[in-house]
């Protein structure tokens, strides 16, 4: 996962290189030997550093390099002569910026007056010559640019409406709101203890409170929303590089890049998307020759789009390539034993076979998309985020991959279930139905998971008390409850003792302080202040299969 920190580190390394270049060029520069191209190159160095540091919020570097850039600009446009003093000041500036970059890398604060004096010198150097060489119109042109140094709001009034906030502060705010939601649930839970004739007004008050809490929560969530642009913007480069490698001509179009989603989702989106884009370039789009031979334009098109749909974000990756070769997929799947030889599958089912674990084969592996990771990993990653991924393909016309994800991972609608004396939370989104099965609908297979007949379909049964070794739980599924859940295309029945109730829970990452726990997605704090674990439905089947084999 490429984080902002890594981008920042990358930029700082780039700064090092630019500064070394700049220093070398300055050493060549004397009043007697002025090369216009060298001046241009130095200006570009300063400009890159200024631009990048601005983007990463390193204002000190940006402000200082602005002065350097201004002087270089004046020099290359011949408004200022290349003097010994100017070269000295620029060399000194390089040292200052080197210090600033090092401080930024070490995350140490800058010395207060670092470069202050020199900034003034640079500024005066640029100005002195305005007076010396009288070119009035240029001074007028220059004026607003200088003004930006001091009076920023005048030039950019929009800037004052946004502020930059530390992510930690937002996380803290989110945490507090989470606590508020928990406290509210706690009060609600206690409300039933109050005699009915006393509780009317109290209930109304609590309802009001709930309303406000929800609004507050939504407001805080919206602050954390980021546009998917940060991820989408990385894709053109990937398409360009990979298609060049494969000798393909591909255009990437992005749509809806301003669609917003919580930062927790953004963080997990980059890897699967990158993989799917590579996949589209590698397997989706045909070679230019082949495209022309079937009457398509030589240039292939991949469209990456994002939209909001009923509280979820939908990301589509469509290509105008050959579509999925169903014959080949089917024979491959049968050959690998992923499906029995005699099964009939619909076109849709066939297309989705590419998400099966173990589908990626040697024939498909190339140095582009085959890195030992198949589409099954993409699907698993997306399902871990409580999302789904599907593909629809049309022979000869292309494929569309559709990813659906929740807008946030921070809060989820949960169903609290009891097993023995323990309580667990299941994401409501993955629950299909709950029922008490008949004893004869459950089949026991030695060394395997039990299966259950649900309206003709056989569905694996997972006993939570076995998987988690929970004492004093109801062992007989026909006396307990089965919660039928769905994760991607997998369905399974999870045996629990009782459904306790539905509640919005704040997802807490368990792995901050502990090692990951199998089949557990995270934890939350219930109304009574106790910690409850949230089941990872996507992982559950894999873990259960593993335990059934080792048991």
């Amino acid at each position: 996962m490429v984080s902002l920190e890594q981008f920042k580190a990358g930029f700082l390394t780039e700064c090092d290189e630019l500064l070394i270049d700049m220093e070398a060029m300055l050493m060549q520069l004397t009043p007697e030997n002025v090369d216009k191209e060298t001046l241009n190159a130095m200006f570009r160095c300063a400009h890159s550093i200024k631009g990048g540091s601005g983007a990463f919020g390193m204002d000190a570097i940006m402000d200082f390099t602005h002065n350097v850039e201004a002087l270089l600009d004046a020099m290359r446009e011949d408004r200022v002569p290349v003097s010994r003093a100017a070269v000295d000041a620029l060399l000194h500036s390089v040292d200052i910026v080197v210090t600033m970059v090092n401080c930024a890398r070490a995350n140490t604060p800058l010395p207060d007056d670092l470069g202050k004096e020199l900034a003034v010198t640079l500024h005066t150097l640029a100005h002195m010559t305005h007076q010396a060489i009288e070119i009035a119109p240029k001074i007028v042109n220059e004026a607003p640019q200088d003004a930006t140094l001091v009076v920023v709001p005048l030039v950019e009034p929009i800037a004052s409406t946004t502020i930059r906030v530390d992510v930690d502060k937002l996380d803290k705010l989110m945490n507090i709101v989470g606590e508020l939601v928990i406290t509210e649930a706690m009060i609600k839970a206690r409300l039933s203890d109050v005699p009915a004739d006393h509780s009317m007004r109290l209930v109304r008050g609590v309802d009001e409170l709930s309303h406000h809490t929800r609004e507050l929560q939504e407001a805080v969530m919206s602050v954390r929303m980021q546009s998917v642009k940060s991820i989408f913007s990385r894709m053109p480069r990937i398409v360009r590089d990979v298609s060049a490698q494969l000798g393909k001509d591909i255009m990437l179009r992005t749509e809806g890049e301003h669609t917003e989603v919580d930062k927790t989702v953004i963080e997990h989106l980059a890897d699967p998307l990158t993989h799917m884009i590579r996949n589209a370039v590698d397997h989706g789009i045909e070679s230019p020759e082949k495209r022309v031979s079937v009457g398509k334009p030589a240039q292939g098109t991949i469209v990456l789009s994002a939209t909001h749909q009923s509280g979820r974000i939908i990301i589509e990756i469509s290509d105008d390539g050959a579509g999925i070769n169903r014959e080949r997929v089917l024979s491959k799947a049968k050959e690998k034993g992923l499906i029995p030889y005699d099964t009939h599958v619909s076109d849709e089912e066939c297309d989705n076979l590419i998400f099966m674990p173990g589908f990626s084969t040697a024939e498909f592996v190339s140095n582009v998309s085959g890195r030992g990771v198949g589409m099954d990993v993409v699907r698993r990653n997306i399902e871990r985020l409580d999302g789904t991924v599907n593909v629809a393909s049309q022979q000869g016309k292309g494929s569309v991959f559709t990813v659906s994800l929740p807008l946030t991972l921070a809060i989820l609608d949960g169903m609290i279930v009891r097993v023995g004396a323990e309580f667990y939370v299941m994401p409501i989104a993955s629950i299909i139905e709950t029922f008490r099965p008949n004893a004869h609908d459950i089949r026991h297979v030695e060394g395997h998971m039990d299966v259950m007949n649900v309206r003709g379909a056989f569905i694996p049964v997972i006993y939570l008390h076995r998987l988690f070794h929970i004492p004093k739980a109801q062992k007989d599924a026909s006396k307990a409850l089965v919660v039928l859940v769905e994760s991607g295309r997998d369905k399974m029945g999870i045996v629990v003792d009782e459904l306790v109730g539905q509640q919005q829970v704040v997802m807490k990452n368990l792995e901050v302080n502990t090692d990951p726990v199998a089949a557990i997605a995270g934890a939350t704090i219930l109304g009574d202040g106790r910690v409850s674990l949230i089941l990872d439905i996507a992982q559950m089947k894999h873990v259960a299969v593993h335990y059934a084999h080792t048991a």
């Binding site: 606590e179 070794h469 807490k508 901050v512 302080n513 910690v531």
Partner: protein, 164 residues
Amino acid sequence: MNSEVIAPQSATIGSNIVREHSQFLIFSVNYEEYGVDIMTVREIRGWSDATRLPNTPEYVRGVMNLRGVIVPIFDLRARFTGILTEMTPKHVLIVLMAGERMVSILADTVSDIITANSEDMKCAPDMVTTVEQRYITGLIAVDQRMIVVLNMEKLLGKPLSPKP
């Protein structure tokens, strides 16, 4: 540094003048005394109901809610001897930072806080304690007591090779 300028609050152990002194919180588990750097300790609290983490080692007694933070509870007796601690109201939880992680350890009692300097800290010879040597920062001898200073980061912090 000259010994005259040492601040008066720097305590002494035996006759040594403390130069680089640190304070250690001393607690006992299974009749052995252990110490942890007091700067890592966040709070000491009574036992609170823990939520069990399934399929984890026995010494992981579960997790608790510490003002919204999910903190694991480790049973040091079980960790070192394999025998689970039988909980009584006298048992305490010491919440501390093990590297970047906030964890809590179950102790029989907390006895005192001692100040020691780097010279008081001895290397741990093999076979002296039930604890593996790599989890020990050093030993401190005070009067007739021998205190094992634990390296909590190595013992309970992030595993060295996190999952990919």
